[in-house]
Amino acid sequence: MNEQFEPKIVAFFCNWCTYTAADLAGVSRLKYAPNVSVIRVMCSGRVDPQFVLDAFARGADGVLLGGCHPGDCHYAEGNYKTLRRMRMLERMLKGMGIHDGRFRLEWISGAEGDKVKAVINDMTKKVRALGPLDLPGKFKEWDKEMEELEAHVNKDSKKGETTHAR
């Protein structure tokens, strides 16, 4: 069995531009990779960096954030706030060992259905090449080191004995 790894990508799309573009891609019957789960938000500025970390922690292999082009924000400044936060978030992700291509910020206007297709296909390809991130699996793996002791301590408590550090 040599099944290709299919990455899970969470996409936050702003209601006014990128989500509309994804809609346009749909009605235009453009085909793109099915690896993206889109979450519609009113503005890319609504996306707290916590959401991105949470998506990774819950098993996303990649996170895509789409908003209006600079100057086009429905709320005037929302996407600038996004840009500033996400520039810092990218530095933090790097500091935590999360590879560059796993998080991506793109400006996609309501008319750019083809860009939705291109970005999703490109990101899917790149994240697939990076392989699974699988943080939920890693969390379990990291905590395995405690299991043996737990069994040991429970066994000991029955005998009323202790191990080291008496």
Partner: protein, 321 residues
Amino acid sequence: MPDKPKVAFYWCASCGGCEEAVVDLAEDILKVVEAVDIVLWPVAMDFKKADVEARPDKSIVAGFINGAIRTSEQEEWVRMLRRKCQVVVSFGACANSGGIPALANQFQKESILKYVYEDCPGMDNPGKTRPQPESKDEGRTLTLPEFRGMVRSLDQVIEVDYYLPGCPPTPKIIMAAVQALLSGKLPPKGTVLSPDIALCEECKRKDSKPADLALTEFKRPHQIQIDPEKCLLAQGLVCMGPATRGGCEALCPAGNMACTGCFGPTSRVKDQGAKFVSSVFSNIAPKEEKEIDAVLDGIPDPIGTFYRYGLSKCLLRRKLQ
């Protein structure tokens, strides 16, 4: 006369500052000692592990445990205390969220051991000897605790009933917690025993905080003369106030130092560092990537700055290999 309620204090990976905080209760500590029997307090009293083990399960009313969890010995102790105590209070930033020791979660176990026992300046260890969990000496077997792969908060190892935040918790919130425990008027399980408001709310400089910070530069404390009245963020200092829980009465800003976030986040926040980025970095001035990056360069160590006391509780938990 009925027995006084029994309490235990224990320390894990910690600096001793939390023990100091108990002593900082000053004359109030006499009230505590009058009201309870202390059955374990390694820093101050001579009780051994076997003494505590010999007690029936749930016979200790409250266990106050400070420090993060790094070794198998600490895991073993806190599991034992969990069995013996009715209520476990996670005491201080290290127990709550890993604290300063959790900054080690930016490094792999092997690189830490290699540095400490081989590479660090002043180390003379030609045989590259390292402590082993088990070794033989003159026919006897010696054991040492295991050094775990990462630093954990107390609640990542055992169930915790309450949290006292701070590095260390202040006398005021410690006393309030002790009184709540003694009176039996306990808040819901899982409560952090400190006001659920942002630090800015209790900061005397709050009125000088502009609605839009429009920062053009971050500065470090030694680079400026700090205005003792004005909002520290507005002066370009990284003050963690907006993403940090109150309860300390803004001690550090009152002392002309920016908040470093030791009380952890409020209950609405899942990740203190990410929330800080959300709130403050949206408010820097530039709009172009290059100019934004120049402002961000003013913070050379984002992880160590935003997760100074809480890397164990970062949603990502540690740096990946």
